[in-house]
């Protein structure tokens, strides 16, 4: 059970993010929801690469190591984090612009595009 705990957390985080995107009305809370989803996906990748009692994948000091943690998922996560940074920045700037146009952060009032 303990070994599966991280995956349960990932699933919960992903669902929480999705629910925030669907159910929240405040634009910033929606943006946070997207961020939570991104964290869940990244955590999933990192957890996948973990090996029980594994050492860090890139080691500068010599020493006896039996098991290494997989490096590829960590590299993937780094890339995904950088991309998520770009999209979050863009998302926040769009929110600021929406606020300027509409004077509110409530999605129920930001609805000029219909049908």
């Amino acid at each position: 059970m303990m070994a599966n705990l991280p995956f349960v957390v990932v699933g919960l985080l992903f669902l929480m993010g999705l629910i925030a995107i669907i159910a929240e009305n405040n634009l910033f809370k929606i943006a946070i929801g997207v961020g939570v989803m991104e964290s869940a996906a990244n955590m999933f990748l990192v957890v996948l690469g973990y090996r029980l009692k594994g050492d860090i994948p890139v080691k500068f000091l010599p020493g006896p190591v039996d098991v290494y943690v997989l490096p590829t998922p960590q590299a993937l996560t780094l890339t995904a984090i950088v991309i998520a940074l770009a999209t979050s920045a863009l998302m926040l700037s769009l929110i600021v612009m929406l606020y300027r146009h509409y004077g509110t952060l409530d999605v129920r009032e930001i609805r000029r595009l219909r049908g």
């Binding site: 997207v34 869940a40 590829t72 991309i83 612009m97 146009h101 595009l113």
Partner: protein, 521 residues
Amino acid sequence: MSWSVHLPALMLAVPLFGAFSTPIVALGGRRARMIWSVLISSVLLVLSFCLLQYVATEGTAVYVMGGKAWNLTLPSGMAYPVRIILEVDSFNSFIAVIGCFASLAGVLFGLRFLDRFSGKVWYSSLYFLLTAGMLGLILTGDLFNFFVFLEIASVSSFGLIAYWRDRPESIEASFKYMLVSQVAAMMVLLAIGFLYGRYNLLNMAAVGKVIQFGLAEKVALVFMITALAMKCGAFPMHMWMPDAYAEAPASVTVLLVVVSQASLVGLCRIVFSVFGSAIVGDVVPWALITLGMISMFFGVSMAVVQHEVKRLMGYHSVSQVGYMLMAFGVGLLAMGDPRQMADFGMTSMKGGIFHMVNYVTYKGLLFLVAGALYYVTGTRDLDKMGGLAKRMPFTTFMFVIAAAAISGIPPFNGFVSKLLIYESSFAVHPALSVVALVTSILTLASFVKVFQTAFLGPEKKEFSKVKEVPASMVLGMAVLTVVILGLSLFPTWVVSHLVEPAATALVDKGAYIGAVLGGGI
């Protein structure tokens, strides 16, 4: 070693170079920027033709990024590929050529269309970044690389949809698209995680070789299909599409159309080349067929009632994507049985691929025409337009061609691909082709409405002084018109020399895997 082996990498390097060099070249003035943009996209078009030629003569092209040699897919005797590998076969090279045509048309159209607005340097930069993202999605053979290009295409399109940032609607459309894209991208990332966790592999061919259909794979497949259906605008997840297509400048919308097709290419790759015969059971094919049918019907029925010309066309995109999903679903349904495959499966795949190509050409042209109407009248509301046919003869001519093609009127290219889809879906169930036919008729009805209200009828007083759009915009539309006419006039040649090899490459999982791993399945 000939330079042509580097073509797959050049297809990504040229637009990326264009994206980052444009701001520097633009220091030389407006003219320099314009010439540079046209030059980059023309070079890209020539390269895509060379790649198509190379693949047709030499077989599947493989390019190992950052390897010691361009074709060393398994370095130092490793059992599986470790680097990012581009895999180009008859299917994706064909789609890439059409994507490059659309990109060139958009660049030419955008030169004068955006002349009265500011921020054109960054527009050009993002435009080429979007082109690079689109081509990357089409050409890559690596799952994580696919995700990265998906995000490159998404980020640049967020910026481009919000180009008119003083319009609240543009920002709203961009935000809506961003939410859908981000959810889709995270689902793709999770799906990649599931496959990686199971096989320790990221290369599509390598995963395809060892894949077994267990629980993790099922979850990955559901995530992938949902996410990519969101990105290509299938029905329940389509709400971003009319908004984003309507609010983006017309020259960008052309490229967005290709990006939605690039997501569909990714969907086909996952379904046919990675999973392939593992999922020929009824559930996945019928899911695709149902998704396609609903998209087709609801898309077009919402389009008929629209009053804004670009929104109307945006809803048509939903219905056109439905045709392709249905065709690929029928192809997948027949895949398990060689006799069914010969009977109607192959026809359906050909219809689906040909429809993808046709859709990019005529839908791109229709959006450019809508842009031209906006350019001269300053409005997108159909009720305010009228009698423009006399004032804009070239635009009218090209609109009629595109409208006839999308409605499936013979002898245009839309007719050929739709006929293939009707024929093959009839073999599965007559109801499928009935829905497709009704959709086609409603499409015709809505474009007759556009033609009647915007181009015919009495001339409106306020438009008595309008003139045809500038030459470069006409040229941009003409590029796509020529492609439509070419595909329409020589359908037999196109189907047998371009579409059929593409369909064969897509369903032949063994050849795709063999290109990277050598031995096939």
